[in-house]
Symmetry: D2
Subunit: 456 residues, 4 copies
Amino acid sequence: MKKPWDGRFTENTEKTVEAFTSSVSFDRRLWKYDIQGSAAHVRMLKKQKIIPARDAELILRGLGEIAREIGEGKFKFREDLEDVHMNIEYALINRIGPAGGKLHTARSRNDQVALDIRLFLREEISGMIKLTRDLQRVFLALADRYKGVVMPGYTHLQRAQPVMLSHHLLAYFEMLERDRGRFGDCAARVNVLPLGSCALAGTSLPIDRKYVARLLGFAAVSENSIDAVSDRDFIIEFLSAASVLMLHLSRLSEELVLWSTEEFGFISLPDAYSTGSSIMPQKKNPDVPELVRGKAGRVCGNLMAMLVVLKGLPLAYNRDLQEDKEPLFDTVDTVKDSLSVLTKMMPKIKFNKTVMLKAAEGGFSTATDLAEYLAKKGLPFREAHNVTGRIVKYCIHKKKLLEDLTMDELKKYSGIFEKDVFDHLSITASVNRKTSLGGTAGKRVLQRIKDIKSTI
Amino acid sequence: MKKPWDGRFTENTEKTVEAFTSSVSFDRRLWKYDIQGSAAHVRMLKKQKIIPARDAELILRGLGEIAREIGEGKFKFREDLEDVHMNIEYALINRIGPAGGKLHTARSRNDQVALDIRLFLREEISGMIKLTRDLQRVFLALADRYKGVVMPGYTHLQRAQPVMLSHHLLAYFEMLERDRGRFGDCAARVNVLPLGSCALAGTSLPIDRKYVARLLGFAAVSENSIDAVSDRDFIIEFLSAASVLMLHLSRLSEELVLWSTEEFGFISLPDAYSTGSSIMPQKKNPDVPELVRGKAGRVCGNLMAMLVVLKGLPLAYNRDLQEDKEPLFDTVDTVKDSLSVLTKMMPKIKFNKTVMLKAAEGGFSTATDLAEYLAKKGLPFREAHNVTGRIVKYCIHKKKLLEDLTMDELKKYSGIFEKDVFDHLSITASVNRKTSLGGTAGKRVLQRIKDIKSTI
Amino acid sequence: MKKPWDGRFTENTEKTVEAFTSSVSFDRRLWKYDIQGSAAHVRMLKKQKIIPARDAELILRGLGEIAREIGEGKFKFREDLEDVHMNIEYALINRIGPAGGKLHTARSRNDQVALDIRLFLREEISGMIKLTRDLQRVFLALADRYKGVVMPGYTHLQRAQPVMLSHHLLAYFEMLERDRGRFGDCAARVNVLPLGSCALAGTSLPIDRKYVARLLGFAAVSENSIDAVSDRDFIIEFLSAASVLMLHLSRLSEELVLWSTEEFGFISLPDAYSTGSSIMPQKKNPDVPELVRGKAGRVCGNLMAMLVVLKGLPLAYNRDLQEDKEPLFDTVDTVKDSLSVLTKMMPKIKFNKTVMLKAAEGGFSTATDLAEYLAKKGLPFREAHNVTGRIVKYCIHKKKLLEDLTMDELKKYSGIFEKDVFDHLSITASVNRKTSLGGTAGKRVLQRIKDIKSTI
Amino acid sequence: MKKPWDGRFTENTEKTVEAFTSSVSFDRRLWKYDIQGSAAHVRMLKKQKIIPARDAELILRGLGEIAREIGEGKFKFREDLEDVHMNIEYALINRIGPAGGKLHTARSRNDQVALDIRLFLREEISGMIKLTRDLQRVFLALADRYKGVVMPGYTHLQRAQPVMLSHHLLAYFEMLERDRGRFGDCAARVNVLPLGSCALAGTSLPIDRKYVARLLGFAAVSENSIDAVSDRDFIIEFLSAASVLMLHLSRLSEELVLWSTEEFGFISLPDAYSTGSSIMPQKKNPDVPELVRGKAGRVCGNLMAMLVVLKGLPLAYNRDLQEDKEPLFDTVDTVKDSLSVLTKMMPKIKFNKTVMLKAAEGGFSTATDLAEYLAKKGLPFREAHNVTGRIVKYCIHKKKLLEDLTMDELKKYSGIFEKDVFDHLSITASVNRKTSLGGTAGKRVLQRIKDIKSTI
């Protein structure tokens, strides 16, 4: 079919090339933003008298009708019209006649697509910040619900020290808080209007970019037209923020998978959030966290794709940039789905408190308390550590727990021990002594819950 | 809806979870291989008398009908049936009754999906090897067509030495030859039957895996059931081979983009393979090579995605592995499309011989010949290089070409120069003197073309 | 050798394991921060009376001496002491006796190393922000120096519209401005004190973390001890910001390589910033931009490494995290070196104004002006584009430039043309008409230069 | 200092540029291969009478002396001499005079460095294939040592079916077998001589490349000089094969970490292969597998770095390629160290057989046997699966094991059950019934061990 730009061409585009270069199969997703941007653009063209008011009105009405049609699923996108922009412009001209041909005045697809993606991403980031907050609320509610529950804290996946389950859950709250921060910082860099940069040089027509920015709610206007059409920083920044978020979810998922093993037994996933096996009738699998963990790979892959695309591209717009949309869209969907499904699932998980407590009692997990006991009594910590280490070795050998040791046994390792040492060997006491700021003591955790509640 | 594995479950699967975990939207693409594998499996079950012959016949007929229905686009895949495997099994039971429930005897989805992907990838790699060969043939034909055409060879994108255009084009032939080799090596590791590994342990039923392998044309049978259901090496290996191929195409594309600039002007792309600008009426853009170059990023991203997915997964099957299909499918499509469009486009490109020759004459590109001249006369190469370098500096200063120098001028730099030196300063003579094996001399290139023709 | 933690161990560490797990060969780079953090920690222990004042003084003096020794290159780091932390603690105890064993009171290497990296990165980011500013200043100075110079603007590497060289150079100013923004946002998330989180649970000792934060200039204190020792977000965020910066430099480098080809000839690199060939005496290669472009790969690789490392790690500290340092250090060095060398080189580049102008005159680069001319006169832009496209086709056919067309020739395509059209076909007039905000008109660029100057 | 190529230059190289572009700090590692290649080159120059025999002898002697000096650590590499090649050539000329200047006849650093890397990588791959074989032998020996030990097989990290520990260990044997295959395929593509391609065009001197290939043991000679100096495929292919190997080791490491938790308790790591905590006296951490798991990220990062470096590079040599060495060297070291340390550690691990067996007895892991029992009796497998699933649900409710069910209880679910069903519920019988090829039955595993032994 005839292309809108084919004035200087002597051949029709090859079918294979049409199919290979067309982006409408995926960029149609931007239709709402494309029309929103076009409407603002037309209002400006009218205000600036660049096109007659009557034409502008016609265009706005036409765009409104097209929007309705697309929204209702009645619009037919055509591959040979290349992209969402040309599909809509073509439909507009078909509908309202030559006046439609004035829409693209003082505009190029280069700045138009940059605008569409920014409008899209601005909205999606805002949605993701909300979804992240929702998941944070779940962690907060769980921390509240399970206050007082003790579990083993791990380093190197070896039991290290007893901690509050609430404290562990709130660790994810903090991670997500940083994720929201990164999304917010990214959104600020997204929220800049590129429209009016045209192909790369700006225009000789008397446009008013600040007016368009106001209409579309942009906080700023891009300062350099060449940069504005070449820039995809904000996509990489977003993909990177999304990758970190997905890494957080992958760490959470790893723990959910671990904790729901029969070996750990810390949690039971609800049947409604698990699936079975086609061959093994007894199986109930933690598919949701496994998939979320896997999807972290997908998002990191999308990030890598964009880095490779942009590497070594000269200014300004190059067609390679068309490859920005699919990784972006896929990441948006993946992040939103992953957040949503975890937000629904987490509150349904059953935490097996007694199993956790029992596990916390193993692994000599109060050995550090013993060492701190000695340090408080004046023994240099390095020596206190060594004394305690040797006591642990003795316990392993004798198959004893620390709390089962007699004073005589303890005295063999250090004369410093007194009766009050036994207070330091109880799990709950151990947890509750960790009152340092950010520590796991019950009252610290409660205070943090209170503080968070007061801010969100 | 009721799941085939829900005997031990007490709740229905949550809708969100169904949507989040379902793979049928993308794995339906494997339907042909799924049915092909099931048919071979059933034939074996029958031969081994694991299921009655009559049931086997029923199943085979049912599978055939389902295949026809899918092929004709009449089959309705359901998301709540999770994946392509369950959709087909469910349709089979619906169609032929309880006998259909015998299909999944001695099989799990774990080994079934591994089989399907291997069948799929085996066929696709074979197709890609052919497409790569097609593009190689294009390079061969172009090398043949443009024999004798001289162009500047570049290092650091600076003119280095004159080379034959044919020689340059055949460099891509060699790259693609290695790509074919890598695809072939990968195919050999793909061509191993995993079916019969069942969930992870094998089965107590008297199956005959070698028979299934024979039916499906596999060269070998996997030796360890746990490994067979956990292994996705072959996907990474394929994605890596595809990434290298796409890097080759990205290098070619970079050259096509460069060469079609007005500054280089070495080639003209056909109008039918270019597109225009929505704003700039004079523009004709090399969209195809730009997109191919960009798509290299996409494939590298897919590779990275799979690496992240597999990192740190314990044995055997984990649901994370479901994330293997989309990067694989996308890569297959991207590679095939990129190869095809270049294969169509390359022969249509117009090579501007005189521009190339003129460019080859600039840049003092016979300076190395001059140095080799001196070396042949006995001057240590390192000194010959220095003498020539100083001559070049003189020429730059005097704005002269090497061939314009007089014998007097030359003699100032070295007494070794004799009249025969001027033979070494002609571009064509320079090219044709590079007769070393693999060198760019005309007769070498012709010989290589002949050799290649005799082998393909 | 005896390890400080070997109380409970029954065997000595295997030599291979010592070598494999030791990090001192690279983390020694953190010594300054390690000692700085230890000193603040000890001051707090003293203030809180957790250790006696005299011991604290001894430790502080000891640390000071060790710092001096390391600074002077006299300190001997030992691999069998694992890491920088243990090397320093061991030296301290050797030097001041058992009191040195009190340094590690209420502290773990888990929070200590998190502190060290944050101190290191905070300082390095601050340095990189300065280096980025330096390079921005270079672009600003060049924009100022070359004001009024016209060059062809490119899209798809095809000449698109004439632009000001200053405008093109300032595009990089804008990119770097965003880079500084990203570094700044990252620095804010780096600037949080993790110390006091101890192994993962906090401590029972009455530490004062806010005091330590004040001593070390941290803006905040981490709120969750488990999170604080597991978190490496800030490293990924930094690597991502660094990757975007390196992509910008790779785009600049690509242009420098292109522009210094004989085909473009827009710039000449200084001899002092180029290198030659071992075989081709005439070669002068743009090695610096080539290497910078390549080093973008290195930094992206480092980012990918960290993403893979963190994927799927359960809380809290795992030894995998030790792999964070080398990619971080390498990235810091690469970014700093790349910024520095470009900052030195850019001002030495010779821009060949006449070559640029001549190139701008080719490629029908004022065709868009022609179309805008028609649009201003009321022709719908889409039709104006088509009319102009056909005129360009005519020019290609007739081998004419747009400015060579007669009024008669123009009139054949549209009756709208009047004599004032010829004003629209001059290159300089074209540039200077692009007065839209962010556009390339001379006065716009001057204004931007002025604005920037007033803010930096 | 004066550069060997500075004949045409008018300025000395800037110090910063010298430091930024120099590669000798890392490529000196190639010295042995550089000298080996040079020696073969000189022998050929002599045979072909391109340089006088006497000069050739002088050069060979000089190279030998330099090799000795470097080997003994007495050679001083200079940064201002750029790279290993120039350092050695410079030392040669210093030592033997102008004859040394003849070494670089008919050679460029472009083909020389390609040769050096290929020689290096050929040797290293061969070493890695041996190291991989060593680790395979360890798995074989362990499989032999622990034959008959039953453990739970996992899918989704949920207990699935009982398997032989030997079978699980041999899964890694199979993975490593594929790794060896990939290394071998890569080595074949590495084993091609690039020398003689010179800068990019070949040479006019009568060199004999096949003779050089013979001297250096290359199986083939590159067919295209332009390709030969541009090609780094083999590095990416190697990095990719190394990444897959490291992913395998990351999966093994994940299991070692899991299995050494107190929750799993399947293995105990030797004290000599673990390290402790600076604060928690009881800790014994699985640092080695954690680090190996982390190092998988490092190698994937190196792969990604090279992909980015090569993307979009025009032919032939570009300085970007200098960035190939550090990721290559780092990968070689990382892979070798990881293989070595695991080879030493694996045999020292204590496998806790009774813990494994006990775990295998949980999780209703013979449910599939029950379903297969019903299927063998004629019930369609899909129904047998459902019946068994409901029995499992009953057991969960009644807190019973499958083997504790009475015939009456079973009969309630299906009339098919007969007394022989109880044979199907024993763990050991279950394992040993999995006699399918590749299955986990004891005799299958023994057979596989025997087969492997007979081939290695």
